[in-house]
Amino acid sequence: METTTTIEDKIRNYLCRQYPALAAKGLKDNDPLAGTLDSLAVLSVVGFMEPEFSIELTPSDLTDENFENIASIARLVERLGASSLQ
């Protein structure tokens, strides 16, 4: 079972790898991602999340609230992961 910290770190590592500019700033869980996650970045981060966490996102999961920061993305992953176990 993954802990919340692990999900958040995995997302952070991915983002920092893809967008090295974020690494230098020391990206925190609650730092806003609006400027970074544009339409292109959204597609790439979804492409990472789905196989990594064995989840599938639907159109209604892609909202500004869910993609506000690392913490909100991690909450989305937990929610989707929990529902796929049921």
Partner: protein, 528 residues
Amino acid sequence: MPNCYLLHHLLEQAASLYPSKEAVVDLGSARRSLNYETLYEMASNCAALLEQHGLRRRERVAIYLPKSAEEAAGIFAATMAGGVFVDINSVLLGHQVAHILADCAASYLITSRREWRRIREDITDLRSLRHLLLVDDSADEVEERIPVIRRAMSEPGRPAGSTAIGEDLGGILYTSGSTGKPRGVMLAHRNLLAGSRIVTSYLEIGAAERILSMLPFSFDYGLNQLLTSFQNAATVVLFHYRFPAEIVRALQGENITGLAGVPLIWAGLVHHTSGLRETKLPSLRYITNSGGALSRATVRNLRSLLPTTKIFLMYGLTEAFRSTYLSPEELDRRPDSIGKAIPETEILVVSSDGTPCRPGEMGTLVHRGPTVSLGYWGKPELTQQFFRPHPFIPADQGGEMVCYSGDLVRMDDDGFLYFVARADGQIKSQGYRVSPAEVEEVLMETGELAQAAVIGLPAGDAGEKIHAIVVPMNSASFDAAQTLERCGRRLPAYMAPKSIEVLDALPKTPNGKIDYKSLRSARMEQLR
């Protein structure tokens, strides 16, 4: 009604024939609909102000606004008053806007309080800029160095009108080349109207069209959507998205009939989170792609998800406004082709020794027709390089100036064209042309590097990603992440390097220049 021979005649004609028809729907934070009469008034109010404040014929009026009805009205206001519009992409940062304003010596800038605050510190060269026109109504002090005109589109006014003719310069679109900073492509009124007329004819755009506009007006392809829409008194819906499902919702909710996109937009549309699979879009009559090749897989997906929509693959370069398109009936047979010349136009394939290429032979795409622009603003040498006499017909036998694209293509036996490669080091990222030199300059500005070279590496439907190869002054203290972070603050997302690589020295050509070819081919080899 006079003949249409100037850009703003398109708007005037639509407003006089269909005043109450919906011209622009602005899907900003709140949906806003404007009819042709309103949009015409906004443009003519602004044109009257420009005249009152001394605009002289051919002076440049820059527009720096987010995609909006005001941006569209500003473009027409500039030419209505006899000026030349210079539309600047609102994703550009202050130092880039400063370059454009200074390069074309713009006398006026139409912007908003918010946008001006974002860039004002960088606008230090105020020798040409005489007035700032703000489209919003705010009493705040925003600028003390130059006169500020507020409510630039809402104070009633009637312009005396332009005395320009179709040959006159109508607009300047800034685009990147392989070297140096962005250069301004000069489009005459007749170029703009020809582009609109030609595209209207092959896309069969009519008055009932509802066109979704997602591309910037500073991009010839995006601007042409606005012009074709107004030419036919159709409706253009302005839209910005972050998530794929928003595109599908806009297409459905606004009953969109036509959409122009770059590969990145199609990647979003066929993405499983777009909801397109569960949505029927019977209104969507056609889609067009330009700004980079579409992968066969994406074409296949679009075909199956949009079974009744016509798909046009197109190719164009700002220097000649629009060039080729593949008719939808040919798509299954030749999905890799960029098609044939647009109407009224001829495309020649010319070998490096200046002779015509035979079918299958690779050569430079040379464009002749009514959309060949007037060249680059203030750059006679560069203009001579890309705009040359007809290669096969002497001037004294009627040969005119044609546009050498710098793109390498070949033609098959049936006359269909195929893009092979760009002849220079230009990068295509997210549909935009990016000059390596411009990115390198920002890298060098960090003061940490002895040398920097920037290349494009394949990134699927996003086109190419920007990859930097650098030689630090002091490799022990060099911090790659920090350098990328600084570039990220100085460049819009499509221009910022995504990766950085440190070398001890950059490879050189025999002439002592950086050997971009070997840098790129070595990395392409690793990717294989």
